[in-house]
């Protein structure tokens, strides 16, 4: 089986996996990183949202491991606080402040998507921007997600 190398949450990793295996399964089933959740495997629900090379969101369920280069830096929810050298990323803190989570299954993906969106839009985030978030929350925490992101955006000013 081919060997693949990349940087995961700041650490170099090397893993044997078929070239076409999606990164989600490499993370969850081979490396034991369970923060990114399976919700559909179709790049639809966004429960597995992670970052690549900075706070750029993508869905590892839809990326073959062969597309990940040795220099690529992958961040999962587990590694998010370290990117800002804090115990919690400010968006995670906003999630706590607004008690956003219910069952919590989608929330790692929601937070990773929100961080990327805020990186792109900054404190000028609008309702239209928030509408562009595709992550599903079946518990229906959408309104608190909006509140938490707006609060995190205000903190960025």
């Amino acid at each position: 089986m081919p060997k693949h190398k990349f940087i995961l949450n700041g650490e170099k990793v090397s893993v044997d996996a078929p070239d076409d295996e999606r990164l989600l399964w490499v993370l969850r089933d081979r490396l034991g990183i369970t923060g990114p959740k399976y919700g559909c495997g179709l790049d639809v629900c966004k429960a597995c949202t992670c970052h690549i090379n900075g706070p750029h969101a993508f869905n590892p369920c839809s990326v073959p491991i062969s597309e990940i280069k040795p220099t690529d830096r992958i961040t999962t929810i587990e590694g998010l606080p370290k990117t800002v050298h804090k115990a919690l990323h400010p968006v995670q803190q906003a999630w706590l402040d607004y008690d956003v989570a219910q069952c919590g299954y989608c929330q790692p993906g929601q937070i990773m998507a929100a961080v990327a969106l805020l990186e792109e839009k900054g404190d000028k985030i609008t309702d239209d921007d928030l509408d562009a978030l595709r992550n599903i929350c079946r518990c229906g925490t959408y309104f608190r997600i909006r509140e938490a992101i707006k609060a995190a955006a205000a903190e960025m000013k």
């Binding site: 078929p18 076409d20 295996e21 999606r22 990164l23 399964w25 969850r28 089933d29 034991g32 369970t34 923060g35 959740k37 399976y38 919700g39 559909c40 495997g41 179709l42 790049d43 639809v44 629900c45 690549i52 750029h56 993508f58 869905n59 590892p60 369920c61 839809s62 990326v63 597309e67 999962t76 929810i77 587990e78 919690l88 995670q92 999630w95 706590l96 008690d99 956003v100 989570a101 219910q102 069952c103 919590g104 299954y105 989608c106 929330q107 790692p108 990327a116 969106l117 792109e120 309702d127 928030l130 595709r134 599903i136 929350c137 079946r138 518990c139 229906g140 959408y142 608190r144 909006r146």
Partner: protein, 781 residues
């Protein structure tokens, strides 16, 4: 103070010297090296044991029934004080996001005057002795557990206090109890020390005095979820995150139609030799599992590849010839007759149709199972774990005591986890392969083969004379709802006229225990009939049993009646409502929403009311039906009318955690919006067309309201009502009414978009699941 014998009774409230009313119960300190408090409320229920066959829902509802059934084994509810000063409780209910572990932590911390951080609540394994006290359903957990947990905690508190009184040489009334310590005479001892001193060597009856409501410091105050930090850091573990030795990823290849049977694998060797695949096994259809072909591999990615590569010969299923219109026709034929109309009265008469919808949590059906020759171990999110354990024991032909069922944290439920479908499959597969398996459903399977809320119709006829409503008739007709998960057993054990295994009787009992008309509309009759056997479709109640449809139909008709009589929907309701608590929530919601304010053409408000689970709910929404909104472009998604604002007032009697209650109402509102406007499954030739979240239009961020206000009414009772499902029906009805007012068209089939042209291309049924995309990096933002 004298101890009563074990002949305890609903110990009446007594008034202490401070004038505060205190409720007393008998509980037990159990023999152990530390203090273990247990509740015993079995006698409390005896007063109500003789339950008439049919009782008006006003006096006895589903919450009462479930609570009474649970109290019979309250003595098994135990709370342990540990030597490190913490308190532990194994909760005999599921946590699926509803916030129960947080609320129970609050209740225990309150009764024991502890910080919440010192209370550790875990999910109990299946414990058959609990009988009916380990079912999570009917929004009943808080209602049924409130007294049980408090009494067990109060027993522990009493033992700790008595130990402290001896150690500190002070009488009980002179003790100061706070933050897990007890002080007197200038000395302080912690619970960790006291627990050994208060322990008993044989079970001992203890008079437990509950903390009076006026002294509550935690209950009624907003508290954040106890698992919030774990959830937002990715540390919260769900079933598929557990590392069970040897349990490799496993998936099933499922039939092209609902309940189709696997006949033969035509390429067993080819698939067995695929990368990473360890096993390929045909799982026949049985009474326990629908069947399919199971594959086990190193990763789920390899399972998906193997499932897609399988060539299977399938037998048909029981509904291969059925589509939406056929089911509708069967429902209409089965509708029970209306009460004959009185002459001289006018009537409004309308039938509403509600299509199938998925009870799909974000975590798909999943379970881990390890079946050995003489034992079974299972991990799954289960709301009815005793039922699961019983059935698994029967499946593998072992005594129930040899089957360990661990209840994991659930990633949502919405009725799905009342059943143990994934657990049964995992057991069947593990047994067939002789290996542990980590079994997970694909999302597409979850939509197409998972349990659905049954399609139904609700016909309402309101009779009126002058400006008065004189009769209200509702005939609800539904595809049979499966209650075989334990709720049915509770009904047959509790209600005299419900024989075991009589599924229509189960359904009709539940209908009568939940359906209600909160208005003075004269003679009200609400009746249910069902079509098909319970295993024709895979059904369950989905975040409410009958109420969303029953209530939505009723509230739409109330608006029509108001219009007929030239009344405003708010004024009309206020003049006919029966109960002051319902009036209060309606007034609160209407006031906060600014009912009647001027809105642009195409935008309208709507009202919906709902009473259930000892609670009262009123919702006012503002719905935007302007063409520019309805037709806004959403990539791979559904826009449609948008609820701009939700105002929700809720009275649950005694709110335990107002923050959690708000969350439940918000979530319920999102379900109500989806059910009214967009979320359904289309049945065509025996299968559902939807196979992804971009097909089944549950509320997404672009459908969510910009404003959402939940008003929690102040405590007006010592009894906490249910919350998990309370938010759905009122919101669904409010959205439906707003749609009628905004467009001038009264919607009669739901969701409102169901009969529109399909907004997606259905995925193939063979292979049953789609391959994951490969362009994920181009989709980043």
């Amino acid at each position: 103070m004298t101890l009563s014998t074990t002949e305890s009774h609903p110990l009446e409230a007594s008034e202490g010297a401070d004038g505060i009313s205190r409720r007393r119960f008998i509980g037990y300190a159990l023999a152990a090296s530390v203090v273990v408090g247990a509740a015993d409320l079995s006698r409390v229920t005896s007063a109500d044991a003789s339950i008439p066959t049919v009782q008006p829902v006003d006096y006895f509802d589903l919450s009462d029934l479930l609570t009474d059934a649970a109290l019979a084994t309250a003595a098994l509810i135990t709370i342990t004080v540990n030597t490190n000063g913490t308190v532990s409780f194994a909760l005999p209910r599921a946590e699926v996001g509803q916030g129960l572990t947080t609320a129970i932590t609050m209740i225990i911390a309150e009764e024991l005057s502890l910080p919440m951080s010192k209370v550790e609540v875990t999910l109990a394994d299946a414990e058959p002795l609990l009988e009916f006290n380990q079912l999570t359903g009917g929004s009943n957990s808080i209602h049924s557990l409130f007294d049980q947990v408090r009494v067990a905690a109060a027993v522990a508190q009493r033992r700790l206090s008595e130990a402290a009184a001896r150690a500190l040489q002070a009488p009980l009334p002179e003790l100061t109890i706070e933050n897990g310590t007890i002080s007197a005479n200038g000395r302080t001892i912690g619970y960790g020390t006291l627990t050994g001193l208060g322990a008993v060597t044989r079970d001992t009856a203890v008079l437990a005095e509950l903390k009076p409501q006026s002294e509550y410091k935690l209950i009624g105050q907003p508290q954040q979820r106890i698992d919030a930090l774990e959830a937002i850091t990715g540390k919260k573990q769900f079933a598929m995150d557990l590392d069970v030795a040897g349990a490799l990823p496993t998936m099933l290849c499922r039939p092209p139609t609902i309940n189709g049977r696997p006949i033969r694998i035509n390429n067993h060797k080819t698939v067995s030799e695929m990368d990473g695949v360890t096993d390929v096994v045909l799982i026949p259809h049985t009474d326990f599992v629908p069947g399919g072909v199971a594959v086990r591999a190193e990763t789920f990615g390899q399972c998906i590849d193997a499932v897609r590569a399988l060539d299977v010969t399938w037998g048909g299923g029981p509904v291969d010839d059925k589509s939406d219109a056929d089911v509708l026709s069967d429902l209409i034929k089965a509708e029970l007759p209306l009460t004959p109309a009185l002459t001289g009265n006018s009537t409004l008469d309308q039938r509403f149709t509600f299509y199938f919808r998925a009870g799909d949590p974000l975590e798909t059906n999943c379970a881990i199972a390890d079946v050995r020759a003489d034992s079974v171990e299972v991990w799954s999110s289960l709301k009815s774990p005793i039922f699961a354990q019983q059935r698994i024991a029967a499946m593998v032909d072992l005594p129930q005591s040899h089957v360990a069922v661990h209840v994991t944290q659930g990633g949502g439920s919405f009725g799905r986890h009342l059943f143990a479908d994934a657990a049964f499959e995992a057991v069947a597969v593990s047994q067939a392969m002789g290996k542990p398996v980590k079994l997970m459903w694909h999302r597409t399977d979850n939509f197409r083969h998972g349990r659905v809320h049954p399609m139904c119709t609700s016909r309402v006829r309101m009779s009126y004379s002058g400006s008065n409503v004189v009769a209200f008739d509702q005939r609800h007709t539904s595809v049979a709802t499966d209650f075989s998960h334990g709720l049915g057993e509770i009904l047959s054990a509790t209600l005299a006229d419900v024989p075991e295994g009589d599924f229509l009787a189960y359904s009709q009992s539940i209908f009568l225990l939940t359906a209600n008309v909160p208005y003075n509309f004269g003679l009200a009759t609400q009746l249910l009939n069902e079509v098909y056997d319970i295993d024709t479709f895979h059904t369950s109640s989905v975040r409410n049993i009958y109420s969303p449809e029953v209530t939505c139909s009723r509230e739409l008709m109330v608006d029509q009646m108001a219009s007929k009589l030239g009344k405003d929907p708010l004024a009309f309701r206020l003049s006919f409502l029966r109960e002051p608590r319902m009036v209060a929530v309606l007034q609160a919601a209407a006031k906060a929403a600014g009912w009647g304010s001027k809105l642009p053409a195409g935008i309208a408000q709507g009202i919906g009311l709902h009473h259930e689970y000892k609670g009262y709910a009123a919702c006012v929404v503002e719905l935007d039906c302007r063409p520019e909104t309805v037709n806004r472009k959403i990539k791979n998604g559904h826009g449609g009318p948008r609820v701009r604002k939700v105002t929700f007032a809720v009275d649950v009697g005694l709110p335990i955690n107002p923050l959690g209650l708000e969350a439940q109402m918000m979530g319920g509102a999102m379900d109500g919006i989806a059910q009214a406007l967009s979320y359904s499954l289309h049945l065509k030739d025996g299968h559902f067309l939807e196979g992804s979240w971009d097909n089944a239009y549950y509320t997404r961020e672009w459908n969510a309201p910009f404003d959402l206000d939940v008003i929690v009414m102040p405590a007006n009772s010592s009894e906490p009502g249910g919350a998990g499902e309370l938010g759905v029906a009122a919101t669904m009805a409010a959205v439906a009414n707003a749609y009628a007012r905004a467009t001038g068209k009264v919607p009669t089939s739901f969701p409102i978009n169901h009969l529109d042209p399909l907004g997606f291309t259905p995925l193939p049924t063979v292979p049953p699941i789609p391959q994951s995309p490969t362009n994920g990096l181009s989709e980043e933002f």
